[in-house]
Symmetry: C2
Subunit: 341 residues, 2 copies
DNA sequence: ACTTTAAATGTAAACCTTTACATTCATCCA
DNA sequence: TGGATGAATGTAAAGGTTTACATTTAAAGT
C-alpha cells in the first residue's frame, strides 16, 4: 500500500493542500518556514513519492517529450539515432521533463501514437520520418508542439531543423578542388533523399563556379547501400580510369568504396581520394583516415529539445514556432584526400 | 480541448461505462455487437484517445517498465546499452507495455527515481549498476519487480541474469590451446569486476586441466582502458618475447593491443594471436578479424523483459521470482588466432 | 479600538478513467 | 403465469493530486 499525500498531511498535522504546496517549487514560498521543514522531514522519512498519474491527470501534462523514430530492428545500432537520443537526453536532464522513445512502424504513427494505445506526450521530436509518410498529413493531426529533424514541409505548424547540406556539398567540392582534383565522381543516395540532392547541388554549384562541369554520368546513385557503392566504384573507374577523387554522399557508401579499394589492391589516398559525408563513427572507426563532412546531429537534437522546452515553459501563450533552421556543417579533414597535380 | 469519454458517450447515446467496456479487450465481450460497432465508428471518427493519466491512476499501473542504466554523457554510444535497449524494446513491442529509459547518475537511483520527481514504473530492469552501488541496499528499497542484468546479490527479491563467463574464459583457453599456443598472457579488467574474474577463472581452469599453469604475473589488469591495454602489451612482450597469444577480457582492451601491434609493425595473427571478449561491434568494425567471445546481451535483455512481463501478467499473485540465470556465451572465430607449434 | 492588509492554511472541486454493484428487460422453464 | 436466469447497460465511487476560492490569524495603519 503506497503512502499518499493524505498520510503525510495527517502526520504533519496540516491539510493536503499545504503538503502539495511544500512539494512544488513554485508554491513552496507560500508555506511557513517551520511548517516546510516539518513536512520535508516527513517526506524524506517516508520516502514519499507523489503519484505521477494523479499529478498528470490534474495538470493535463505528462512532462514527457516523445522522440519518434522509424522502427526497425537495429534502430539502436544506428549512430544517427544515438546522437539524437543523446542530444535530447542531455538537454532534458534537470528540466523536469523526461523523454520517451517512440519507435514506430511506418503507418503506425497516428494509429499507434494517438489512437490505439494513446501514449501521450507534451511535445514531439520527429526524425527522418517523411520517407515513409506524408509529412503534412501526419503533422496536421498532431496537437502538441512538434520539432521535425531532417525533414521539411511547407505551411505546417512545426519547427524544422536540418543541416546545411548545400554548403556541405560545396565544402567537399572545395576540399577536392583546392587539392588539385579535377576528374571526380559523385556517389549519391536514392532520388527521394532531399539531403543527398542538396549535397550534390552544393558540390555541383562549387564545381560550376570554377568553370567545371559535373555531368549527369559522373553522379551515380547507390541507394545508401554498402554493396551498391562497391559496384558503383567499379563502374566509375571503368568509365574513367583517370578519376582521382570521389565524393560520397554518405559515409556508409564511402565505406563501400574504401572496402572495394582494398579488394582491388588500390590504396586511399595513394590511388584515389575519397570524401565522405556524415562523419559516421561506425565507418570512421573502421577507416580512421576518412575525411568527411560532419553533420551536427547532436546539436540539432539539443536545439529541438530546448525549442520544445522553451515553448512549453512559456505557458503556451504564444502560437507554436514556425520556420526552419539549418545548422552549419563542417568538413573534418583526415587523410583520405591527396594533394595532386 | 481534448475530447473525453463523456463526449463519446453522449454521441453514442450510452453511458461512459459502456464506452469504457467497448475500448478494453477484456470487457469488450459484454457489449452488444451493434452498440460496439456504433461506438467503434465514433472512436475512429473523433480519433478519441483515452487519457493515459486517468487510466493509470485508476488502475494503479503505468504499463511502463523502467530500464535503469548508469548515466554518463556517451551512454548511447556504448553498444552494450544498445543491445539492452534493443532487446527490451523488441520484447515489449505489442505487449501494451512501454519502456522508459532512466539514465541516472550514481547516487541518484533512490533520490531521483523514487523520491524527487517520482517517476513510476511497473517493473525495473537494472544493468551494470552495482559498480556504483550497494546492490542490496538499493534493491531492498525497490518495490516493483526487478531484473538485474550482469550483477548479482544474495538474499534479495529479484531476478538476476548474466552471461556464463567461466565457460567463456574456458572457451578462449581451449581455442588457443587446441591451436598450439602454450605461452600466453591475459589482460584483464579491474579487481572489482566480477565478470573479469570469472573470465580469468575459466581460462585458468582450462589451462590447469591441461597441466599448464597460469601464473599471477601472466595476468595483467588494464582497467578496461584502451591505453592501459597498449601499455600492458609492451609489458607482456618485454617480459616474455616468446609469448604467442593474448587473451583480453574485453574487446576494448583487445583493440588497444591490436593498435599497439600496428604501431610496432607487428601483425596479428602472424606475430601474435589475440582472443577478445564481448564481441563488441565498435571494436570488431575496426578490427574485423578479431576472434572474440560473444555475450548474448540482446538475449539477456529479452529474457529480462519477458520475465517481468510474465510476472506482471500473472496478476502478481505469486511472489516475485528469485534466482539467477546464466546464459551461454559462444566463441566467434575470425582470423586473429594462428595455428602454431 | 477598529478596519485593512497580508500571510498561512484549509476546503472542496476537478481532472478522466475503470469497475463493483445495481437495474432493466427479455427469455425460458415449471 | 410467475419466478428465475442472464445479457446489456447504467450509476456512482474511487484513484491521488493541484488549485481556485474561502477562511483564519496576526500585524499594521488610522
Amino acid at each position: 500500500m503506497k503512502i499518499t499525500i493524505f498520510e503525510i498531511a495527517k502526520k504533519a498535522g496540516v491539510s493536503i493542500a499545504t503538503i502539495s504546496r511544500a512539494m512544488n517549487p513554485h508554491t513552496r514560498g507560500m508555506v511557513a518556514p517551520d511548517t516546510l521543514k516539518r513536512i520535508n522531514n516527513l517526506l524524506t522519512k517516508y520516502t514519499y513519492t507523489p503519484n505521477l498519474a494523479a499529478r498528470n491527470l490534474r495538470q493535463a501534462s505528462t512532462r514527457t517529450i516523445g522522440v519518434v523514430v522509424p522502427f526497425y530492428r537495429d534502430i539502436f545500432y544506428n549512430s544517427y539515432y544515438m546522437h539524437i537520443l543523446s542530444g535530447v537526453s542531455n538537454t532534458l536532464e534537470g528540466s523536469g521533463y523526461q523523454f520517451k522513445l517512440l519507435a514506430l512502424d511506418q503507418g503506425q504513427l497516428w494509429d499507434h501514437y494517438d489512437f490505439r494505445s494513446g501514449e501521450q506526450v507534451d511535445g514531439l521530436i520527429v526524425s527522418l520520418w517523411f520517407r515513409f509518410f506524408s509529412g503534412k498529413e501526419v503533422l496536421e493531426k498532431i496537437k502538441v508542439p512538434t520539432v521535425v529533424i531532417d525533414d521539411f514541409e511547407k505551411d505546417v505548424k512545426a519547427m524544422f531543423i536540418g543541416g546545411d547540406h548545400v554548403s556541405g556539398g560545396r565544402m567537399a567540392a572545395e576540399h577536392l578542388y583546392t587539392r588539385g582534383h579535377r576528374r571526380v565522381a559523385v556517389i549519391t543516395g536514392p532520388d527521394w533523399s532531399r539531403d543527398c540532392r542538396q549535397r550534390v547541388d552544393g558540390f555541383r554549384s562549387y564545381w560550376a563556379a570554377q568553370g567545371l562541369s559535373l555531368d549527369q554520368d559522373q553522379v551515380i546513385a547507390a541507394d545508401f547501400l554498402h554493396h551498391k557503392a562497391k559496384a558503383s566504384f567499379d563502374q566509375i573507374i571503368k568509365k574513367d580510369p583517370e578519376v582521382t577523387a570521389i565524393f560520397c554522399c554518405t559515409d556508409i557508401m564511402a565505406g563501400g568504396v574504401l572496402e572495394r579499394c582494398q579488394e582491388l589492391n588500390m590504396a586511399c589516398p595513394r590511388d584515389i581520394s575519397v570524401v565522405g559525408y556524415d562523419d559516421d563513427m561506425k565507418i570512421i572507426s573502421r577507416f580512421p583516415y576518412l575525411s568527411s563532412v560532419h553533420v551536427p546531429v547532436y546539436e540539432m537534437a539539443q536545439k529541438a529539445a530546448s525549442g520544445i522546452l522553451e515553448h512549453l515553459k512559456s505557458k503556451r501563450n504564444k502560437k507554436f514556432f514556425n520556420g526552419t533552421e539549418f545548422l552549419p556543417v563542417r568538413l573534418v579533414e583526415r587523410q583520405s584526400v591527396k594533394t595532386t597535380g
